[in-house]
């Protein structure tokens, strides 16, 4: 709630694909105000830095999830593609929260 009054509205679109099984796909769109504090802080880092390094997946790795995040603040758009085997630790709370949100919606 505080974020809405102090800055432009921030939303993140989350898409999970891949994994061992092509049918295990998830997608959700969440506003910053609906995230827990650790996830919201990670989202701020994506926008305002220091931007976490996203290392490539280790050579030869397979069947990890592919995470696509698109963060929007007004006209500003930041897109990130992350591999589960190379997830920056700073983004784990955000990815976990979004993944859980998408799973809850799937039911």
């Amino acid at each position: 709630m505080a974020s809405e009054s102090s800055s432009e509205h921030v939303r993140v679109h989350f898409r999970r694909s891949g994994g061992l099984f092509a049918g295990n796909r998830l997608e959700v769109d969440v506003g910053r105000e609906d995230l827990d504090p650790a996830a919201a802080e990670a989202l701020d880092r994506v926008l305002d830095g220091p931007r976490p390094e996203a290392p490539p997946a280790p050579a030869g790795a397979a069947d990890g999830y592919q995470y696509d995040l698109t963060v929007r603040r007004g006209e500003e758009v930041v897109s990130l593609r992350l591999d589960e085997s190379g997830l920056p630790p700073e983004l784990v709370p955000l990815v976990d929260a979004l993944e859980q949100r998408a799973l809850d919606r799937r039911g």
Binding site: N24, A61, D63, D68
Partner: protein, 364 residues
């Protein structure tokens, strides 16, 4: 009294650069100790020497995997497995709860993984004389209870990692032999290919893991092609999911059709090739095309799929002409080349390979 027409003698096994029949005989005589002892004896026998000479003579036309396999077979390898417990976190360095020498674990998931990873090691050793994932005796390291309700399994470059499943989509993934063998086979692809995990080369990477994964199961059941169901992950679909498995190699697109999961998106022909930026360019989707090509070869040839068809595919994976960025067409051409090297230019194996790729719409 009538005489039956003379049947030409079966061709001598000109393709015997992989001494699988030797190894199988040894294996049938008993447990690991017997096998090792027998291998030691074989290593100095005329049989093995003659294989080595044959291999030397054919070096110029052989896939690069051939020589190391012979050499490996001379030094009896030791199966080495260990299982770690991630304790429902993402920690990949959790406590070791099962080792090769240690007692059985009370954790049944650890035992399930241990057993299935062992069966996979046995397959690679006995069928392809391969000493573990890296051909050099690398320990097979599994991680169980990864994260919480995790509906996935993966190969991270060094470890096989298994979730327990959410119970809504999957149950414990380590309980499926085809899944365990699929993950180990990604390790094999990493060392033999490699095949870049994107687009068509990524779909070939996936397909190799599927093909080798189902061959491990068929071999462990001594199952002829006619009895194979070609399914990956049959055991782990949660109750309530409408489907039979994660994937069907023989009939891509038919593994499931579920309210939550949707319909199996795999094509079995180039006409259905899916362009997407998800899933590293649809690596788990378009793998249906080379998967089906393999099953067409195996079904055409009959017998045991790991014998001729499996040998052609495995040797193609290790072939020096295979590029990390190989397309379906490039891989298909290598399979034809390998088939003609192993079985002869006019052989039924070459015809089967050509017809199979034609059947899935890949132009040779």
């Amino acid at each position: 009294m009538t005489t039956t027409p003379a049947v030409p003698p079966a061709p001598v096994a000109v393709c015997s650069f992989i001494p699988d029949y030797v190894l199988r005989n040894v294996a049938e005589r008993g447990g690991d100790d017997d096998r090792r002892a027998a291998l030691q004896a074989l290593a100095t026998s005329g049989t093995m020497r003659s294989l080595r000479v044959q291999a030397e003579a054919r070096r110029s036309v052989l896939p690069r995997s051939a020589m190391p396999e012979i050499t490996t077979a001379l030094a009896p390898p030791t199966k080495e497995r260990l299982i770690r417990d991630a304790e429902n976190t993402a920690n990949l360095r959790g406590p070791i709860i099962r080792t090769e020498a240690g007692p059985a674990s009370a954790d049944e998931t650890a035992e399930a993984a241990f057993e299935r990873l062992g069966a996979t090691w046995d397959f690679y050793f006995q069928v392809f004389a391969r000493n573990s994932i890296d051909k050099a005796g690398m320990p097979i390291e599994g991680v169980v209870h990864y994260r919480r309700g995790y509906d996935n399994a993966l190969w991270n470059g060094t470890q096989m990692i298994f979730g327990d499943g959410s119970g809504r989509l999957f149950t414990g993934l380590a309980h499926s032999l085809t899944v365990c063998a699929h993950e180990v086979s990604h390790g094999v692809v990493q060392y033999d290919g490699p095949l870049v995990y994107q687009g068509q080369s990524g779909a070939l990477n996936e397909s190799m893991a599927d093909v080798l994964g189902v061959l491990v199961e068929q071999w462990s059941l001594d199952q002829p092609v006619g009895q194979a169901d070609w399914l990956v992950g049959r055991e782990i679909l949660a109750p309530g999911v409408t489907g039979k498995a994660l994937r069907s190699l023989a009939e891509p697109g038919t593994a499931y059709d579920d309210d939550v999961l949707g319909r199996d998106p795999q094509p079995g022909h180039m006409d259905g090739y899916v362009e997407t930026d998800e899933d590293n360019g649809g690596v788990h989707i378009n793998s249906g095309i080379p998967n089906r090509a393999f099953t067409l070869v195996a079904q055409r040839l009959g017998g045991r799929a790991w014998e001729d068809a499996g040998r052609i595919w495995y040797a193609s994976l290790g072939h020096e002409r295979l590029l990390p960025t190989a397309t379906f067409r490039q891989f298909a051409r290598i399979t034809r080349y390998v088939a003609s090297t192993l079985f002869g230019a006019g052989s039924r194996q070459v015809s089967a390979v050509e017809e199979a790729w034609d059947g899935v719409g890949v132009q040779l």
